[in-house]
């Protein structure tokens, strides 16, 4: 997505700037640092997360600069001239290693790693978290829906319920996760994704009667006629009127594409409507359903109730990631000037991993994802054997004979993005190829099998030494 504003430097938490100025004046201006991004839990109590937002983040990062008026604003906030001169010329100049967008990632493993001066690493934290957390949240939601919808298409209808301008990132992420199109026209233009839509109840109501509203619509859009049938009475009026119009279209050698149900019991109404359409010889007319859908409702409709639904329009829960609303991704310091750093914590889950790292995906003999290993960046792949639970070191497992794949790749070198741009639909294809390798047990919604992520023996030793030193 184009970055909209020319300068996004202020899209940061105040304390990032406050600390940056502190580093600047206390002799740490040129200190180097490594930070890493990870999330602590998979959203929706699920077994995986779809990593998304990388390309958007890199575009914003390229515009993470300060305009003259930004500098004036910061001057009023009390920042010092010498530091403001530094910001005037600020551009991120470090390196970023990252998983590919669309990768299936798991809790507690590094998804992305940033190296640069401590000031630049710090300043970009909020932007990075803001975009990656949200797009990953929505892409994961969309893919969960894709898992139950199968070949049935679904469209993002969420603009009206999205969280303000978050709608833009959301629409992109729904396509990465598997939506076929969006109703959000601006997102369509900015991200080059298909847009679609039908008609609202207001269209029907604005005519003297429903039949006339259907007729005018079908005349105006014969190639894409979808009729909303629940404005007055779905089965007594909406569907019969739609059938009438479909027959009239047939006499003009046109075909009604679909009807849409937007209220009532979607299982019952869809089955009744299907029968009415079929009886009228309109087997080709599809049924689209909308109204407060999510992966669980769709699963129930399709698997438990045999609903006669061919496609879905999904709004609120898709674009806001409800029931979760946020992914708990964090960005933590791992090294300063080559020295390992970590955070102890009152909460044991909040202890971080020191040092530069690499993540290896280990495959089982059939080629499925088996374990992920977090190793020191300079460890050799073929030396990885024992791996340990990151929190409970008395739990361990072996990955010695697995084939392995490093997941973190260089995507920004000396401040320049070096990856090829992909469309959201291409990223979805990559996701599909990865999902095919993830055993089904990790995909189920209820108590998914937990995918094992361990740390290498060397990383555990490095952490233990640091813990001792800190004590």
């Amino acid at each position: 997505m184009p970055a909209i504003l020319e300068n996004w430097g202020l899209y940061t938490d105040f304390y990032e700037l406050f600390m940056a100025q502190g580093y600047y004046f206390c002799g740490k201006k040129d200190d180097t640092a490594t930070f890493y991004y990870f999330f602590r839990t998979n959203p929706y109590k699920g077994g995986f997360t779809v990593f998304a937002g990388l390309q958007d983040f890199l575009e914003f990062l390229n515009n993470f600069t300060f305009s003259n008026s930004d500098i004036q604003y910061l001057k009023k906030q009390g920042f010092k001239n010498e530091f403001l001169d530094y910001l005037k010329n600020f551009h991120f100049s470090g390196n970023i290693m990252s998983m590919q967008e669309g990768e299936i990632a798991f809790a507690n493993e590094p998804v992305l790693q940033v190296e640069g001066t401590i000031i630049e690493c710090q300043l970009i934290e909020s932007l990075l978290l803001n975009i990656l957390n949200f797009e990953s949240l929505v892409a994961t939601k969309a893919f969960r829906i894709k898992l139950v919808a199968g070949d049935r298409m679904f469209t993002d209808f969420g603009l009206r319920r999205a969280q303000g301008l978050g709608a833009l990132h959301a629409s992109r992420a729904t396509i990465i996760g598997g939506a076929s199109s969006t109703s959000n026209v601006l997102a369509g233009k900015l991200f080059d994704i298909p847009v679609s839509g039908t008609q609202a109840h207001s269209w029907i109501q604005s005519f003297d009667n429903e039949l006339e509203a259907f007729r005018v619509y079908a005349r105006a859009h014969p190639e894409n006629a979808i009729l909303l049938v629940d404005t007055y009475d779905t089965l007594k009026m909406g569907v019969p009127n739609a059938i009438k119009v479909a027959k009239e279209m047939e006499s003009r050698n046109e075909k009604l594409k679909a009807i849409r149900l937007d209220s009532g019991d979607l299982a019952y109404l869809s089955k009744r409507a299907r029968k009415m359409l079929d009886t009228a010889g309109l087997e080709y007319v599809k049924i689209i359903a909308s109204n407060q859908l999510n992966e669980h409702v769709i699963k129930s409709l399709l698997k438990d109730q045999n609903a006669a639904i061919d496609a879905f329009g999904i709004g609120t829960e898709l674009v806001t990631g409800k029931s979760d609303a946020a992914l708990d991704g964090v960005y933590k310091l791992a090294e300063v000037n080559g020295q390992p750093k970590m955070k102890k914590s009152e909460n044991i889950e909040k202890v971080t991993l020191p040092c530069k790292k690499q993540v290896y995906r280990c495959f089982d003999e059939e080629g499925f994802f088996y374990r992920d290993t977090i190793a020191l960046a300079n460890e050799k792949e073929n030396e990885l054997g024992l791996i340990f639970h990151p929190v409970y070191p008395n739990r361990f497992t072996y990955v010695k004979n697995c084939s392995k794949q490093p997941l973190l790749q260089l995507v920004v070198k000396n401040g320049k993005a070096i990856t090829a741009q992909k469309t959201p639909a291409e990223i979805h294809q990559f996701l599909l190829s990865r999902s095919a390798l993830l055993p089904d047990e990790h995909k189920r919604f209820i108590s998914p099998h937990i995918y094992k992520v361990g740390i290498s023996e060397k990383l555990m030793k490095a952490r233990n030494e640091l813990v001792k030193k800190l004590e």
Copy 2:
């Protein structure tokens, strides 16, 4: 907020444009319409909603226009030249009546009403819903926190967990609801709201030890020194080191402002830290708490556990409106060319109210909010007597002798906003003045007393007549 993009015309659902073109060519180009905005339920299972987002919506509305490249994009989507010529010159030219921003509103009553050509009313729907739904959601969340935090200040720390660029609207709405400042610097600049922040764990970790990190920070920011004490061990290390630094500051005639707790049991740690600070003669040093807070946790900390916390930093749930993630606001047709319109529905709660309307707030003899009455726009205030439950007409009540106040006021006249701009902090003051009139029973979190909203006898009759006609 400045509208960032110059042209927001594409920030709409595809079907709005599709229908607009339909109206344009089927002879309804100059038809006039009235739509109204309302939400069906108060968020968070609460008893009220804080209406917010109006000023932002009006600013975006002013830029709801189409650039040449937007027109080109729509041409590629198959829209017709004559309609595109119409869009080239599009600017909303109708009237909008609205509640004031910061008003306390209730489910099922018109919060805002739009009059114009049916095309312009339709095109702006998605933008209106997107902004008003989200800011109202977050302002309500923030005000619920304000209700339990009382005089203790709280700050929006949510940028990193906000839903992408939704962070901007969110920060504004938190101030309307009662936050004292935000960490989001860009929101601070755009909306002229106070920004604040302290330090991250990475600051502490980047030094050889915590004490040195505290010392450098206190030297750099003596006027605003807040020390984060939980990086290694809150009570054994963080607080003792903060006390040391506070004493050193005293010797320089400076004062440590606060310590911040960001993990562990906030009730326990705050009380222990308070005792340690007091024993050291540092009664003036405040304690700030953060870490996954919401109104329920804060209530428990303050009312049940006597936590020694003076201020809060709140992120995820504040800016995403978790646990709800979206307000279910809708925008429905009420009239076309002066003819009343309504939607029947399979779901009785989805039936809409026809005709142009006004909402009267009725006060009890002590001046508190008592009932709201939805009346026809042309009804006389002093003729309002019996009012009926909108869904169950056998439930009714009287408002005859109440003093009444019309809540919908003209805010846009012939496309021009005519209201004075207010800062978010000023809007919060208005909210406080209204909240003072709302009985406490409607403010409680668990099973709040339901505030009664009824429809006037004339409106009920108009609806009944229309129902008959539709049958």
